[in-house]
């Protein structure tokens, strides 16, 4: 049983990364109806901002994280202003393709900065472990979970009580109506990208502080957020969090138990498991667990 709960704990920590990334996807989707494929690059850039602050400027971890979030947010806004804003009104498919181009361009720049070496971030006492009821978790993973919880609560409060948060929700519901109410829709788009960039930077910073750091292939991690947003529902912020955590859990539990319980599924079934879960959930709930059912007048 300890093994099971340890796998749950590990999955929850990994799922926190996916949840942060999934939140970024959902923020942009809600605001613009575009799935942003630039999130992997924003994550990598965020991790590299933190690396630069931590290792080059020798700044402690938490201020480095703050710098990364700030830079990630600015980068998100710049991407929106330069690449997406001029295309407002064009088909969303076109915009999605543009985000792929943005992703590639940013990763080329990031790869040039990285070169051959993985880039890490110094996390204070990251290796220290805490034991509780036979379970074990590292200081760094505990920090990740705590930051994710704080971020999710802060976002929830922002959208519920802050004037700007309410304006963003209004924009997501109907851009025309929001415009009629005096809301600057373009600013809301930029803000959505800024929040997505900041969230990706948090994820990237913790990825850089783990294991082998950030390297040229690390962007692939962000793609795990895609099944997370489908599972949770493309337009649901709670869905993104639940979807991200579920992907982390299913991945961890499958990695630990599948080789013994279902060896006939072959090696590395854990890689497929999130997509299998996504498939099952879509069979039952086509719009995801928390997605808004689309109603069309015919």
């Amino acid at each position: 049983m300890t093994t099971f709960f340890q796998a749950v704990l590990d999955g929850f920590a990994q799922g926190s990364i996916y949840a942060l990334l999934a939140l970024g996807f959902v923020m942009i989707y809600k605001a613009t109806l575009v799935i942003s494929f630039a999130q992997p690059a924003l994550m990598v850039c965020g991790g590299l901002f933190a690396h630069h602050a931590s290792r080059v400027w020798d700044i402690p971890f938490w201020p480095s994280l703050a710098i990364a979030v700030l830079c990630g947010a600015v980068l998100g806004m710049v991407v929106e202003r330069l690449a997406l804003r001029p295309m407002v009104g064009k088909p969303v498919f076109t915009l999605a393709i543009i985000t792929i181009g943005v992703d590639i361009a940013l990763r080329v720049l990031a790869n040039r900065y990285m070169g051959a070496d993985p880039r890490g971030v110094t996390y204070p006492n990251g290796g220290r472990r805490y034991e509780f009821l036979g379970l074990s978790i590292s200081h760094q993973r505990l920090g990740l979970i705590a930051v994710t919880i704080v971020t999710v609560i802060a976002l929830a409060l922002f959208f519920r009580y802050a004037k700007t948060g309410l304006a963003m929700r209004a924009t997501a519901l109907s851009q025309e109506t929001a415009l009629a109410q005096g809301i600057r829709v373009g600013t809301m788009f930029a803000l959505a990208w800024a929040i997505a960039g900041g969230l990706a930077a948090i994820a990237g910073t913790f990825v850089a502080a783990t294991g082998a750091g950030i390297e040229q292939n690390t962007w692939i991690i962000a793609l795990k957020a895609l099944p997370a947003i489908i599972i949770g529902g493309l337009d649901s912020i709670p869905g993104a969090v639940v979807g991200g955590i579920l992907v982390g859990l299913i991945e961890s539990l499958t990695a630990v138990f599948q080789p013994d319980v279902a060896p006939w599924l072959g090696n590395n079934f854990a890689l497929v498991a999130p997509y299998a879960l996504m498939f099952l959930i879509l069979l039952v709930k086509p719009y995801g667990l928390f997605g808004t059912k689309e109603v069309e007048r015919v």
Partner: protein
């Protein structure tokens, strides 16, 4: 005026036809010596009076798991041939390995496509990175009489005349790694091999299994995918099996994730990695303490900082680099057999041609590696069971060494590799 127009049309038509015909020929500069060799000097030639031999390099320059190593490999090879050119070239030719460099993204299909694009333009391949990738072009190389230098150490290459491999393959390297750990690290019970599900991983895992059998160790093998985020299963396997020895054949990031992840959950033991598992930058990551405590690298030759003539020449030719990397070392060493084959071909009737290079490579019974490997490490004149090189070095983590590892065991062959009946590759390439 009409006459003038007519001639203009004829001239334009002839020019267009010439252009089309040139295009159909693939743009190659064939001469009497054949494709990949011209009497014209190389672009940016060191010796303007020399002709030019073009070598191709198909590498993993951007997206694949070995991109961090492939860049240094390619740079070292450019430096190697530049040095050869500065020494006068070979048989009246400079060597160019700059013009035909292609990125395969570690994908056999793209690798093949890139070879098709350059096959009429190169004399030989100065680099073909990856086992499956090289296999994807091997038949075409044979039909083209093109020799290639593999950026891999696969046991299958010992059975291929046109693949010029240097150093012990992954299979012997793994046998030596296990034998060394048994002798020096007190490994007695179980060895777990974690490896990529491909020819690189399979070749090493076959060597680990053979050595485990020879040493009376329990053997468990787990395949793992590329990507740091895909190592949960491998970490779980380490924690479940609790091996004395973990032998890893992945990329550096995956290795560090597995070792760091397992150590963080309390596993202790010895880790030996195939040579491509190491990158000195791992010492700047959170996995560094675990690697310093447990990791050893089985390698085909000494690292960047070793004291041999070849290493010294390499360091001088490559110059100052931001972070020394044994991708440079490998890229440099690999070129020596091709240099020897070109020199031998230059002495043959007909001089340097593809056919003569193939013939010369098959007749090499030693290669001057300038001390980086013993001369007898290369011998293509006998059966692999008699002539294949079986010795490896073992490196330990050393923060003060330029590439983060220094030799703890110089060239040696363990009893398993020494007695291995090598009549076929350890792992069948597919």
């Amino acid at each position: 005026m009409k006459q003038h127009r007519k001639w203009v049309r004829i001239a334009a038509g002839a020019a267009a036809a010439a252009l089309v015909l040139t295009g159909c020929r693939g743009g190659g500069d064939d001469t009497e010596a054949g494709p990949g060799i011209t009497e014209e000097p190389c672009p940016n030639a060191v010796n303007e009076d020399n002709g030019c031999i073009y070598l191709g390099a198909i590498s993993d320059l951007t997206k694949g798991p070995f991109a961090p190593l492939a860049g240094p490999i390619t740079e070292a090879q450019k430096a190697f041939w530049k040095k050869v050119n500065e020494d006068g070239g070979i048989g009246g030719y400079d060597i160019d390995i700059d013009k035909y460099v292609a990125d395969s993204e570690y994908n056999p299909e793209i690798h093949n496509k890139k070879y098709q694009e350059m096959r009429n333009d190169v004399l030989a391949l100065g680099q073909t990175l990856g086992s499956s990738q090289t296999l994807a072009i091997l038949e075409d190389m044979k039909s083209d009489d093109v020799v290639g230098v593999p950026a891999s150490w696969n046991s299958a290459w010992d059975f291929e005349d046109q693949i010029l491999q240097s150093g012990a393959n992954y299979c012997f390297e793994a046998m030596n790694g296990v034998d060394w750990a048994v002798k020096n690290r007190g490994v007695k019970n179980k060895v777990l091999a974690i490896h990529y599900p491909n020819d690189y991983g399979g070749d090493a895992a076959a060597g680990v299994e053979e050595a485990a059998k020879a040493n009376g160790l329990d053997f468990v093998s787990v395949e793992t995918a590329t990507g740091q985020d895909n190592q949960a299963g491998a970490v779980a396997a380490v924690l479940k099996e609790k091996p004395d020895l973990l032998y890893i054949t992945t990329g550096p990031a995956e290795m560090a994730t597995i070792v760091g992840g397992a150590a963080a959950k309390g596993w202790k033991g010895t880790v030996v990695g195939s040579s491509p598992t190491w990158n000195p930058a791992l010492l700047q990551t959170e996995a560094a303490p675990a690697l310093e405590a447990m990791y050893f690298q089985a390698a085909p030759w000494g690292p960047w900082g070793s004291e041999t003539d070849g290493h010294a020449k390499m360091r001088e030719a490559i110059g100052d680099v931001d972070s020394p990397n044994d991708g440079y070392t490998a890229g440099w060493v690999w070129e020596y057999p091709l240099l020897a084959a070109l020199k031998a071909a230059a002495e043959m009737d007909g001089g340097i041609t593809r056919e003569n290079v193939v013939k010369a490579a098959a007749e090499l019974d030693s290669v001057d590696y300038e001390g980086m490997l013993p001369d007898e490490a290369y011998n293509a004149t006998g059966e692999p069971n008699e002539v294949a090189w079986r010795q490896s070095v073992i490196g330990g983590v050393d923060k003060d060494a330029p590439t983060g590892v220094s030799i703890v065991q110089d060239f040696w062959v363990g009893p398993t590799a020494e007695g291995y009946d090598y009549t076929e590759p350890c792992f069948a390439l597919s």
